[in-house]
């Protein structure tokens, strides 16, 4: 791993002391902000229709011309493209940060909500509300309204994360093999329970579920963003308080405590943030995998594992990559759309295998 880390070296920046990558990390974050702005602008400007963003923007400054502008263009930009871009940013950031948080919490670079069953648990929560929301869970949906779906997914993700942590961690140490195997078992259980619910679903629900499970940013609406956005933003904001603690945790639980970190409280916050971010992302976009493993891994090669930089950088890169994946999903089979979960899996699964292969010698797999 050192080889790759050295290959991406920024010698001209090394006015900083040797081994201090903070200046490089800050530069990387600035570049990622710029990249996200560009990607988001391009995503907003392109789509299946020929609606012109420039025309819409001109309309802001020349209200007299606004009437000339077709209402259709404005509708497409404001109600279809912008919500989709906003949702992509939120979901991409949520998935990447969840991955980075989980890897820090488990002290394990292969932890990821999608791989260890947390997403499956969140899906089970969401499917439960979709299928039973009209009947048994009517009161729950009535009480929480648009938040019922992300909340149910959060609960599903939280239960899975807690179970996984219980099973895979002993005295603060996670065995990678135990974690991956426990994740397989938990995911299988969640999928079996989901299967029962799907079996009970009617035809309309079934169609919704199938597309939702494959993962998609299609059908993004401002109301979806209103339901998942606050939860994701809250989870991302709380993650910034975890950075120092996760850095210390890399030394082990006891050493983190010796450095003054309230370890138990920090771990609880991390588990809640992972479950909330994953749950909200799954609720609005279904099964989009591998973002949480690919993004933090790439970033560690460039800026190192310091969570003070890794977490914000992961949010930014996760958002950009998901928008790019969405662009691919919209264009490869245009005018039809490939579910984005398929795109991320096609790129992400080989990447995961590559990481496994590279670490095979280091870890007892």
């Amino acid at each position: 791993m050192s080889l790759s880390a050295r290959m991406i070296s920024f010698r001209h920046l090394d006015a900083a002391p040797a081994g201090d990558r903070s200046a490089r990390a800050r530069l990387a974050i600035a570049l990622l902000v710029a990249a996200l702005v560009v990607v988001a602008a391009i995503s907003t400007a392109t789509g299946a229709s020929d609606a012109s963003v420039l025309g819409v923007i001109k309309g802001w400054f020349h209200p007299s011309e606004e009437a000339a502008l077709s209402a259709r263009d404005r509708l497409i930009v404001y109600e279809i493209r912008l919500p989709r871009v906003a949702l992509g940013i939120l979901v991409g950031a949520a998935l990447a940060v969840s991955g980075a948080l989980m890897q820090g919490l488990f002290r394990n670079p292969l932890a990821d909500p999608g791989i260890v069953g947390v997403s499956a648990g969140a899906s089970l929560g969401a499917i439960t509300v979709i299928v039973l929301g009209g009947t048994v869970l009517g009161p729950f949906v009535g009480l929480f309204g648009i938040y019922a779906l992300p909340l149910a997914a959060f609960i599903g993700g939280l239960v899975t994360t807690l179970l996984l942590y219980r099973v895979a961690t002993r005295q603060g140490q996670t065995s990678i093999a135990t974690m991956l195997l426990a994740g397989i078992a938990l995911a299988a259980l969640a999928m079996a329970l989901s299967g029962i619910l799907i079996y009970m679903a009617d035809d309309r629900q079934l169609r919704d579920l199938t597309f939702w499970q494959l993962g998609s940013l299609g059908g993004a609406t401002w109301s979806k963003i209103g339901s998942a956005g606050p939860i994701i933003v809250l989870a991302l904001a709380s993650s910034s308080f975890l950075a120092r603690g996760l850095n210390a945790l890399a030394l082990g639980e006891a050493s983190a405590r010796h450095l003054g970190i309230p370890v138990q409280r920090m771990k609880n916050t991390a588990i809640l943030a992972v479950a909330a971010a994953t749950g909200a992302a799954v609720a609005v976009s279904g099964g989009i995998g591998f973002v949480g493993i690919v993004v933090p891994h790439l970033l560690r090669l460039v800026i190192g594992p310091d969570h003070r930089y890794l977490l914000p950088a992961a949010a930014l890169l996760g958002a950009s990559l998901l928008l790019l994946a969405d662009a691919v999903s919209r264009t490869v089979v245009a005018p039809a759309e490939l579910p984005i979960g398929i795109v991320t899996a096609v790129f992400g699964a080989p990447f995961f295998l590559w990481v496994l292969l590279r670490r095979r010698g280091i870890l007892d797999l």
Partner: protein, 264 residues
């Protein structure tokens, strides 16, 4: 002063420590010695706040169990036996973790220079940019010592002595660096801090410790100055192995040799 009174630690049903009394005064190196399984590491874990304990452990008069992690971190630093990292941190990034509490006690604005100075102390100048995972066990142990030194850079902070708790600090070091680490401990004590070190090497103990606690089966077998506790009969009995304490010339630092074991 670290004062432990009647300290008892149980893990499950097994009582690991029973009624241990122990003091570590600032200004001196206190060594904890004893055979495997005698409770040395358990005592150090209790002193570090890693295990629930019965009895009382105070740092400068404050009960350990009442201290928040951040308060404990300002009054002592703990060197663990070995630390494996799962992410590719550079040596400097690891050492810098010692500064996260912001209570190094160095002069204002000096914190950013401490990692290099601490690395120089442990004979690892030039290692700051290396990856921790690529170092040998002994080098990693010294990187951790540098981190711990950053945490309590000033041995006395706001008039209160601070402590280094070292769990087998020389276990994977060559002889040059064993002596270096023991000298660092002595220097820390000479500047007003306190050091508690679990040691296996009785000769290093005799040469560097001012106070020795001898543990046996979870209890205190003896405590006192090295000259007082390093006696043939006591050591041979505690370690269950015939040992001979000598001093050449007479009056110099005592040394311990195993008596010839007959080959069967």
């Amino acid at each position: 002063m670290i004062e432990a009174r009647n300290v008892t630690v149980s893990l499950g049903r097994a009582r690991i420590l029973s009624g241990v009394d122990f003091t570590a005064e600032p200004g001196r190196v206190t060594a904890i010695v004893g055979p495997n399984g005698s409770g040395k590491s358990t005592l150090v874990k209790a002193l570090s706040g890693d295990l629930p304990y019965g009895g009382s452990i105070t740092f400068n008069g404050r009960e350990l169990a009442q201290m928040k992690p951040v308060e404990a971190a300002a009054s002592r630093a703990v060197l663990p036996q070995a630390v494996a990292l799962s992410f590719p941190y550079t040596v400097r990034e690891v050492v810098r973790l010692g500064l996260m509490g912001g209570r190094s006690g160095a002069l204002a604005g000096q914190d950013e220079h401490l990692p290099e100075r601490a690395l120089a102390k442990v004979d690892l100048s030039g290692f700051a940019g290396r990856f921790y995972q690529e170092l040998s066990g002994g080098e990693q142990q010294r990187v951790q010592l540098a981190r711990v030194l950053c945490q309590v850079w000033a041995p006395v902070l706001e008039g209160r002595p601070r402590y280094l708790i070292l769990d087998e600090p020389v276990s994977s070091l060559d002889i040059k660096h064993q002596l270096l680490v023991m000298k660092i401990a002595r220097e820390f004590a000479a500047r007003g801090g306190g050091v508690v070190a679990v040691l296996h090497d009785l000769n290093l103990t005799a040469a560097f410790a001012e106070h020795v606690l001898v543990m046996r089966r979870g209890t205190r077998a003896a405590a006192g100055a090295p000259d007082a506790v390093m006696q043939d009969a006591l050591l041979s009995e505690v370690f269950d192995c015939p040992l001979k304490v000598g001093a050449v010339p007479a009056g110099a630092t005592p040394f311990v040799l195993p008596q010839a074991v007959p080959v069967v």
